[in-house]
């Protein structure tokens, strides 16, 4: 049995036994290499389920849709390790109750999809632990290194060119499971901290604020990057920030559902070499 069929069976079981009220998975999209989210409420609907190497989107943002979890019933969801880390963060930030989530874990290496053993987010803690061990290596990115070789002027010019394309559609925000605020700071106009016009200054401010708000919270799922209609390499900034919090505070986002947010906590001996 293929992994897709195994999981279909599992989804049908979960629904027919009443363990979950819904499973969030993937179905075919508009093109061959695109997938759309699938919200499965009955065992029959599981027929549409697809699970292959194109299922890369992090679905966890759908869990915090208004009212979905408020009846305290369980929901199943297909998640890669980055998605599991995401729900850990959402739980740590009190946006969902981790016990309501049944994880259908999988991972993609190249074209191959493998199943991950476990049912609740906590079952994957050993896996996430190993991700943290490998993180210094995994977060490396030749483009980041290249950018860091440039002088500030050149780096500024690079981002100026990238951000000049931004049209302030906020698709990056909408696609990000971490952007759950009821009111985004950019929509706050008293005072208007972030310029809303899509001139480069406004775009620059928006993208800096976005990256700052995701520092220590982003798992690098790439939803923002893929959602961007003008292909701004948003993931690059996020990855750089992830490197920073890992290096400076030994913090990898989403280790557990009780992990303290890196910017709401501190250690007295945090490094401060830059402070005069």
């Amino acid at each position: 049995m293929t992994i897709q069929e195994q999981y279909k069976t599992r989804v049908r079981e979960l629904l027919s036994s009443g363990t979950v009220k819904m499973v969030i998975g993937y179905k075919a999209g508009t093109t061959a290499d695109r997938r759309r989210p699938l919200f499965i409420r009955t065992p029959e609907e599981a027929d549409q389920l697809l699970l292959d190497s194109a299922c890369i989107a992090n679905l966890s943002g759908y869990l915090i849709a208004e009212g979905l979890l408020s009846d305290e019933k369980r929901v199943g969801i297909f998640l890669k390790p980055d998605g599991i880390r995401t729900i850990n963060i959402l739980a740590a930030e009190a946006q969902l109750n981790i016990e309501q989530i049944i994880v259908l874990g999988f991972d993609i290496t190249g074209q191959e999809v493998t199943a991950l053993q476990g049912e609740t987010a906590g079952d994957f803690s050993a896996l996430i632990e190993s991700i943290k061990e490998g993180a210094p290596e995994a977060l490396k990115n030749p483009l980041i290194d290249q950018l860091e070789q440039l002088n500030p002027k050149e780096r500024f010019a690079y981002w100026q060119a990238e951000f000049s394309r931004c049209i302030k559609c906020y698709a990056c925000r909408q696609a990000c499971p971490m952007c759950y605020c009821r009111r985004c700071i950019v929509d706050c106009n008293q005072p208007q901290w972030v310029n809303t016009s899509s001139h480069t200054l406004g775009n620059f401010e928006w993208n800096i604020v976005r990256a700052f708000h995701l520092s220590g919270r982003c798992v690098g799922c790439g939803n923002c990057d893929r959602a961007c209609p003008v292909n701004i390499p948003l993931r690059l900034i996020n990855a750089r920030m992830a490197q920073e919090v890992l290096g400076s505070f030994d913090h990898l986002a989403g280790m557990s559902d009780t992990q303290e947010p890196v910017l709401a906590s501190f250690k007295k001996d945090d490094s401060e070499t830059f402070i005069l």
Binding site: Q95, Y180, C181, R183, A264
Partner: protein, 679 residues
Amino acid sequence: MRTEYPVPLAPFGQQLHTYKDCTMAKIGVFICHCGENIGAKVDCTKLAAAMGEHPGVAVAVDYKYFCSDPGQESVKKAIRENNLTGVVIAACSPRMHEATFRKACAEAGLNPYMCEIANIREQCSWVHTDPEMATEKAADITRSMVEKVKRNNKLKSIEVPVTRRALVIGGGIAGIQAALDIANAGQEVVLVEREPTLGGHMAQLSETFPTLDCSQCIMTPRMVEAAQHPKIRLLTYAEVVGVDGYIGNFHVKVKMKARYVDTESCTGCGDCITKCPNKKNSSEFDCGLGKRTAIYTPFAQSVPNKPIIDKANCTYFKNGKCKVCQKVCELNSINFEMQDEFIDLEVGAIVVATGFQVQDNSVYGEYGYGKYKDVINGLQFERLASASGPTFGKILRPSDGKEPETVVFIQCAGSRDPSKGVRYCSKICCMYTAKHAMLYAHKVHGGKSNIFYMDIRAAGKGYDEFTRRAIEDDEASYLRGRVSKVWEENGKLMVRGVDTLLGKPVVIAADMVVLATAMVPQPDAKDFAKVVGIGYDEYGFFNEAHLKLRPVESSTAGIFLAGACQSPKDIPDSVAQASASASKVLALFSKEKLEREPVVATNNETTCAGCWGCVLACPYNAIEKKDILDRSGKVIKRVASVNPGLCQGCGTCVSFCRSNSLDLAGFTEQQIFAEVMGL
């Protein structure tokens, strides 16, 4: 995901979070020459003219001294005549005269928080040489403040009701002193002690330095006074397990541990103790040098003088058979079924006086503590020297009960030793070691005492004289140096150390070795600090709000510190701090309501996403989780809610808040934005 609920805002919150219409602002700008101090560098007339042109400025004038009486009068007059909505005083630092001018504004009918100070003296005229640039900078500073004050809110000082009842945690000398001082001033006190009796460590001591009066003689009357005081409710064998609330309004949960003896009916006759067959339990009060029964009072003068059953060692609890105590008790006071109980208290202030412990000296393997019976610590020596102790005040070796002919005292056994012990000085050891040497000399004639020391620290009234007496009258031999090893040889304890003044190693054959053990925090101090909601240092001593200026207050408003829980202290210091804490409590209780500066955070509950980062970041536990209910009482969402009684106004939460929902009165986002943009 991003729907907004029509949740009503708190009136105070509304004020901060809504748009400030600045078009109707009428700001008065008052530029002070401060004699020559400002006027010599900053062209005040030019500055006034420039400010007069600024949008929203109704009046801009300069004057020699605005802080003078006529100066203040002119400000008041301008406020009344022009119906000013805000005032900027461009003068000295706000740290000098902010209060002066706020008061003047209030007298003229303007909300005092509509007044801001532009610091053009300390941070401009005094530090710059070029008049033109100084004037330009002064204009920037003043303009920035004008823009800020346009967005100021009419704040009201915060009133917090006060429950006039104090909780004192810890029934040692510090706790008793604080409780008595508060109660004698007519306020109610609840005194909670976790041991079965009041007394703490002081009750264990033999004599006290520098007067050598008997500790119990001065301690026990205070214990009795506290227990019998009509204003003091005494809860012994009880532990504080939860503290909620804030200054003036604390909710406290106390666990009354099961004593298995009904204290109401028990008269303390002691029949049960005499008859208890289980007599071989190590006495905590005697530091393991004596024995006690399984049903016991820690010592003869215990307060309350009602026994408890040591459940871990009681024959009945272990084997299910015995109950001798129950049989002999004529009042039927023994109850083996007793359970822990919980009491809720409402108090307005808390004094934490939880004391200390002595360090476990077994970390010093080379001194043989725990290995050789005759190596004891200072507290054990107190018990030996105490008339009520296991030897009735005779100095006898624990191993064979013989009088020691030579005793070696080792100071700084743990203190000032970063490698094995603690880095700090325990403060009392120099004094009590001198006292021990004197007591030994008085009790064992011809006894020879040798004291190894690093420094003699005897600062205090009558203290240095005391150590001199030990040396001169009682012939204590002080050797400046450390001990490297203690071992047993032919029934003697061989002490090898160094006399650094002679520059020679020394070996002393002793009959007893006394370690002047470090004072350390209670082992559970850090956990307890979290229960109470106060800070602690790296060791576990509780943190004062300010080491010099607020030494008896914790960083949490309404919670005070007394005694050795804050740092090592002797009795006079503990008592002084306890009385100081009591006076702080009484000052707090002197009014029905507290008034506080309204610089506190508020939350916009409509936009709050409930991520609780602020709850974690707040240094004062001032942010709570609040349920927003719909009409049927169902929880719609949970939001952060700032308790203005606890909030100290640092604004850490505000900068954390990603959705910009939190804001800080007096330093709002709009105000700071305007300040930057006004530059």
